[in-house]
C-alpha cells in the first residue's frame, strides 16, 4: 500500500455531524466487485440531483474543492455501515486525509487499510481550518496540520501511525505470528473442544 507521509492539498469543508457511510457511498454502488472507480459516486445523493446533474451548492462541485485531497468534517464521521466502499470512494476521488472531531470505529479502522489518514482534531480547530484560504499541510511524522498561520497537533496511536507511514500490509504482519496462531488453535482444541465445528449447516 502507498505510504502516507506529508500531504499538502486543498481541504474541502463538509462540517455536518454524523456523516454516515450511506451518505458517503449509497447502496446502489455497493454492487461492484472491485475496489476502484467509486470516486465519481462519492456523496452521490447530495452531489448530484435526481437527473444526475451536479448540484452547484455542494462543496465538491465548486472549483477549488474539486481537487480536494483533504476533507474537513463534523463529529462521528463514517457512522453506520461497515462498508469499506466508503474509504474506497474517498480515496478514488482523491481524498487522503479526513480531519474531524471524532470518527465511528469501523470506518476509522477501514481507513488505515487503505492508506487514508483519519485525524482527530477539536471542532474549533476544524472550523478554523475551514476558513483558511489555500492549501493545508497534513504532516504525519510530526502529527500536525498546518495552514493559514495555524498549527494543530493530533494524537495517533504509534501502531496506526506506522501502518500509514510504512504502507504496511496487515496480513503480512500477522503472518509473522503464524506460530502463535497454530499454538492457540492446538490449545483450544484441548480446552474448548465444543468450539470445533463438527457439523455443517
Amino acid at each position: 500500500m502507498e505510504p502516507f507521509t506529508t500531504l499538502t492539498g486543498i481541504a474541502a469543508p463538509l462540517l455536518r455531524t454524523n456523516i454516515d457511510t450511506d451518505l458517503i457511498i449509497p447502496k446502489q454502488f455497493l454492487k461492484t466487485l472491485v475496489r476502484s472507480g467509486l470516486g465519481r459516486h462519492l456523496f452521490s445523493e447530495i452531489r448530484y440531483d435526481a437527473d444526475g446533474r451536479e448540484r452547484p451548492d455542494f462543496v465538491l462541485n465548486q472549483p477549488p474543492y474539486r481537487a480536494a485531497s483533504i476533507l474537513l468534517a463534523g463529529p462521528n464521521f463514517g457512522c453506520g455501515s461497515s462498508r469499506e466502499h466508503a474509504p474506497w470512494a474517498l480515496k478514488d476521488f482523491g481524498i487522503r486525509a479526513i480531519l474531524a472531531p471524532s470518527f465511528a470505529d469501523i470506518f476509522f479502522t477501514n481507513c488505515f487499510a487503505n492508506g487514508l489518514l483519519p485525524a482527530v482534531l477539536p471542532m474549533e480547530a476544524i472550523e478554523t481550518l475551514a476558513t483558511v484560504k489555500g492549501p493545508l499541510t497534513v504532516d504525519l511524522p510530526a502529527q500536525q496540520v498546518r495552514g493559514g498561520g495555524h498549527t494543530f497537533t493530533f494524537d495517533l496511536e504509534p501502531a496506526r501511525k506506522a501502518v500509514l507511514l510504512e504502507g504496511l500490509d496487515e496480513i503480512k504482519r500477522t503472518e509473522a505470528n503464524l506460530g502463535d496462531i497454530d499454538a492457540f488453535e492446538a490449545r483450544r482444541r484441548l480446552n474448548a473442544p465444543w468450539l470445533e465445528i463438527h457439523t455443517q449447516p
Binding site: I106, E175, D180, I181, W194
Partner: protein, 470 residues
Amino acid sequence: MTPRTLYDKIWDDHLVATRADGTCLLYIDRHLVHEVTSPQAFEGLREARRPLRRPNAILSVADHNVPTLNREKGIADETCRLQVEELETNVKAYGVPYLPLLDDRQGIVHVVGPEQGFTLPGTTIVCGDSHTSTHGAFGALAFGIGTSEVEHVLATQTLPQRKSRNLRVRFLGALPPGLGAKDLALALIGRIGTAGGTGHVMEFTGPAVRALSMEGRMTLCNMSIEGGARSGLVAPDDVTFAYLEGRPMVPKDDLWDAALTHWQSLRSDEAATFDTEVALDVSALAPQVTWGTSPQWVTDIGGRVPDPAEATSADDRQAMLRALDYMGLKPGTLIQDIALQAVFIGSCTNGRIEDLREAAAVAKGRKVAPGLRALVVPGSGLVKRQAEAEGLDRIFLAAGFEWRQPGCSMCLGMNDDRLEEGVRCASTSNRNFEGRQGRGSRTHLVSPGMAAAAAVTGHFTDVRQLMGGQ
C-alpha cells in the same frame, strides 16, 4: 484475580499474541460472509496466492441483493445477479459452507447464524456487516468489520485489535406490556446519541433484559452499533441455552455438557468495573418513534416533532433543520398525526418469528389503510416457514400486506424493494439515514407492533390501543 467484565473474559480467552507495539491479535471463532462485502476480500486472497485458513469456520449466504418475489426465476437485475454469482464462485473455489438462494435456511446472515447454532456464547464472531453486533445477544463478542479485515480473517483466522472500553447499560424496572426490545434500543440511543457508545462494548443488564426472549435480545444487540458501539453483549442464561439446544451446529452430548459448564461462567464479575455506566428507567416507557434522519432523533408516541429553535447549539439547530426539511415535517406536529404511505416489517433487527407474531397480532382482522403499501419480509426461509405453519401469512395477506421471500429487502433496498422519493415509511429496520430505503425516502423506525398499527390506521398509533385483537 482482578474482577473482569464479560467482555474482558471473552477477550482474554481469544488473545493469541500481544505485539511489541501494543496491538493484540485476537482469534476469530466464526466468520459470516455475504455477497456485498466479500468479493474484494476473496480477490485479495487470490491475488496474494494465500490459502483460506479455516473454511469450515465460515458460514456464507447471499441476503442483500436477493429478490423477495419470484426468486425461483433467478435474479433479474444483472449487477445483483453478478454479485451473488461471484459469492457462489468464491465459496465453491475455497470450500466454504454456503446456503443457496433457494434453500429454506437462506436468509439475512444475522438471522441465519443463530438459527443454525453457528452463533455460540463466548465466541468471537465477525462479518463484513455492522449489524454483526446482533450475535452479542448470546454472550458472543461479535462485531462488524471492513472488507480488508474480512480478507485478514480469511487468511489468518485472527484480527489485530485494540481493546475497547467497557460500558454497562442498566435498564431499571420492568418494561410495560406492549413494549419490546426495539423500544429499549431506541430509547437508549435517544439518551446517549449515535456516538454515545463509540470505542466501547456495551453490556445490557437489568430485569427488562433478562425478561427478553432471544429474539428480543438480538434486536437490542443489533442496535448497539446505532449507539456507536461495535458490539453489544447480553450474558447467557437459561433462555439462551434453551434457544440453542438441538440446533444443527450446536455441540451435542458430552460436548454440550462441557460447553454449558463454560457458558454458565460467562458473566461479568460482581466487582467488575465499567469505564462508563448508563442507567435508564424503562418502567414508564411508551412506544418509540424516530422523527429524524438519525436513530437518536426519537420520541414516544405521545410526543411531538421537536422545534429546532430549542436546540442547544447552532450546529444541532442546523442539523435538525436539515433533518426536518428532508423528512418533510413541521416542528410541533403530533407524532400521531404523521400519515404514512408505506410500512416495512422485516430486517435483521425485527424480521424474526416473534416480530412477525407481534405484527400479526395487530394486523389480525384489520385492513391496511387505503393507499398504503405494506411489506412483510421474513428474516429467513425458516422464519417464513414457521410463520406459515402458524398461519401468520394468511393474517397478513387477508389484511392487505404483501408476504415476501426472505432477505434484507427494503431495509436498504439493494434489491428491487425500494421506496420512491418523498414516500414516508414506518420501518422495523435500524437506520433512518437519508436515502437509506431509496433516494429521498423518509424512514421512521418503530417496533413491529407499532409498524403494524401504523399500517392499519395509516398514521402512527399507540399499538397498545389495538392490542387484544379487534
